[in-house]
Amino acid sequence: MATIAFPQPEVRQPSRATLVLRYLRRNKSLSVGLLILLFLVAFTVIGLLTINPKEAYPLAVRAKQPPSVTYPFGTDFFGRNLYAAMVIGMWQTALIGVLAGGLGTLIGVVLGFTSAYFGGILDATVKGICQILTPIPIFLIQVVIAGSIDRRSVTIYTMALIVVLLAWMGPTLVIRSQVLSMKERQFVSVAKLSGVGDMGIIFGEILPNLLPFIAASFVTQVFVSVYASFYLAVVGLGPLREPLLGNIIWGAQLQGAFFNGWWWWPITPAVAMVLILGSLALVNMGLDELANPRVRRSE
């Protein structure tokens, strides 16, 4: 009797890239957000390679020109090439976002970990400060700080610092609550019983498990920082010389751009900002789902 040779079904684990792609297809807000972000990064990088950075500053080109082939986004009242200004402005926005977001998350991680893990007076202080500051609109305090600084010495970096000064509370509270629940888990108790030290537990046991949360709160922080610095710039508290997107809108508003028919002046930075903040919100939401599967129920 002839034996029938069944073809051995080959079980192949799909490659990492395929898995990531499959996940992205499921998590629509993450993928759409990332796509828009990618587009913005490409715009900025290509822009930085092609523009003359001098044209992003006043008195560089002919003023008040509508969009044309030479000036794709037109030029403004002060004689800035808006295309160059947009590229530099996007780059500076990204810089503020990443700097302030990174710093805020770092402070949050350190404070959240130490206060939740060690407890005691430190924890009570951190919690108390956060509780008292919660009802105070942060933007207004930022206005006081930014308003007290000599306007001429405000730079992109001071902006980032002003934002960080009050923006560490969010990540601190998130990380704190996560560490509080994490340190009661069994694997931490087991590690403790096996004689692992505090540092070993923090870095070896708890931190790796919190990485998705830290990533998510980093993105939230970038979003918050970009939002805050944009608001400060829109009311005229930004570094006035720099072509920060909020500054461009502030200048356009000050000169009555719509009344005078220079529609292209405020509209380009506004659209860019919508794309930046919208994509960050989408990525934020997508990461939230990745870090916290319970959220998936709401989809």
């Binding site: 009802p135 609109p137 006081v144 308003g147 007290s148 009344f259």
Partner: protein
């Protein structure tokens, strides 16, 4: 609710007010800027008085405003004046007090904020609830998706876009200001319509700008409630879909949103301030903007303090009202 709890919350409110006023007192004094010197230097550029006179004037005014006294003494008198609702005198619109400036502008801001906040809360929560309700038609459920994107967009940007499309391109609505140029506002019908026309775009941008958060959080809330036993029970009793939606589902999902509402108040005020600037509307926001432009520090700090106290008080108020809405919470 016990008296003790009420007192505790009021104590907390005092603590917040103390923190806010301490921040607005110390931060400016940490910086090297001297508002009085800057103001007079500005005047000296336009009018002619000699530098020697300038120093004398500055010294005299510093004494008058008490800036030459020791820091702690200043702090004590500052706290005392805040307790008397005295926010100081405007440096730029002297001799108007900051309190007068705020009170003149406040009705505008309150009018805009009240309407937009209530509308966005109601519409946003209804949309969110409908989006999570399993029996609503598919197109309604999909309607919530764009709000994920919208939730990240500040009302100011919506304002700029609306101004462009509706004000500039279609010329349907005015580009800014509270009245048409040249109109003297009166208590009559055409004036009112004109005013209303100028408030539409700011209102729409504020409503849509803050609605996204309500839609999304309500949708999340709604999904959790669907699995609850009492909803299942109501369905098995054969109650109509509308009754279940209204009495069992919406009412319960709405409760946490009230807390969210209190927490969102700060953002609401911030958005309004910035929106007033874009639409050149009168209001507390434009007073703040003018003050920023003119380096009128007393006004900046006064407004910051005023809004902070308002927001904190409203938050505590919502917290105190909450047990009336949710009988499960008896402090």
């Amino acid at each position: 609710m016990s008296i003790k709890k009420v007192l505790q919350r009021l104590g907390f409110l005092l603590l917040v007010i103390w923190a806010a006023s301490t921040i607005t007192f110390f931060i400016p004094r940490l910086s090297s800027r001297n508002p009085i010197r800057e103001r007079f230097a500005e005047l000296a550029r336009t009018g002619g008085f000699s530098p020697a006179d300038l120093e004398i004037i500055i010294a005299a005014y510093s004494a008058k405003f008490g800036i030459d006294r020791p820091l702690l003494e200043q702090y004590a008198s500052y706290m005392g004046s805040i307790a008397r609702f005295d926010l100081g005198i405007s440096l730029h619109k002297y001799p108007k007090t900051v309190w007068e400036l705020i009170m003149e502008a406040l009705p505008w801001t309150i009018g805009l904020l009240l309407v937009t906040t209530i509308l966005s809360f109601v519409i946003g929560n209804l949309l969110g609830a409908v989006a999570a309700w399993p029996r609503s038609p598919g197109w309604l459920r999909a309607f919530a998706t764009p709000f994920v994107l919208l939730q990240g967009v500040p009302p100011v940007l919506l304002g700029v876009l609306l101004l462009f499309f509706i004000g500039f391109r279609l010329k349907l609505l005015p580009l800014g200001g509270a009245y048409s140029i040249g109109r003297v506002p009166q208590w009559d019908w055409p004036s009112f319509l004109d005013l209303l026309k100028h408030q539409i775009l700011p209102a729409v941008s504020l409503i849509f700008g803050s609605m996204g958060a309500w839609v999304l959080s309500m949708r999340g809330m709604g999904v959790t409630i669907q699995g609850e036993d009492y909803v299942n029970f109501a369905e098995h009793k054969g109650l109509s879909g509308y009754t279940i939606f209204k009495d069992y589902y919406l009412r319960n999902a709405l409760l946490p949103q009230v807390t969210g509402f209190a927490l969102a108040l700060g953002t609401v005020f911030t958005s309004a301030i910035v929106a007033e600037q874009i639409f050149s509307l009168p209001g507390v926001g434009s007073v703040l903007n003018d003050a920023i432009r003119a380096n009128d520090f007393m006004v900046i700090y006064g407004i910051v303090l005023f809004i902070t106290i308002t927001v904190a008080s409203l938050m505590v108020l919502v917290e105190l009202i909450y047990p009336l809405l949710d009988p499960r919470i008896r402090h």
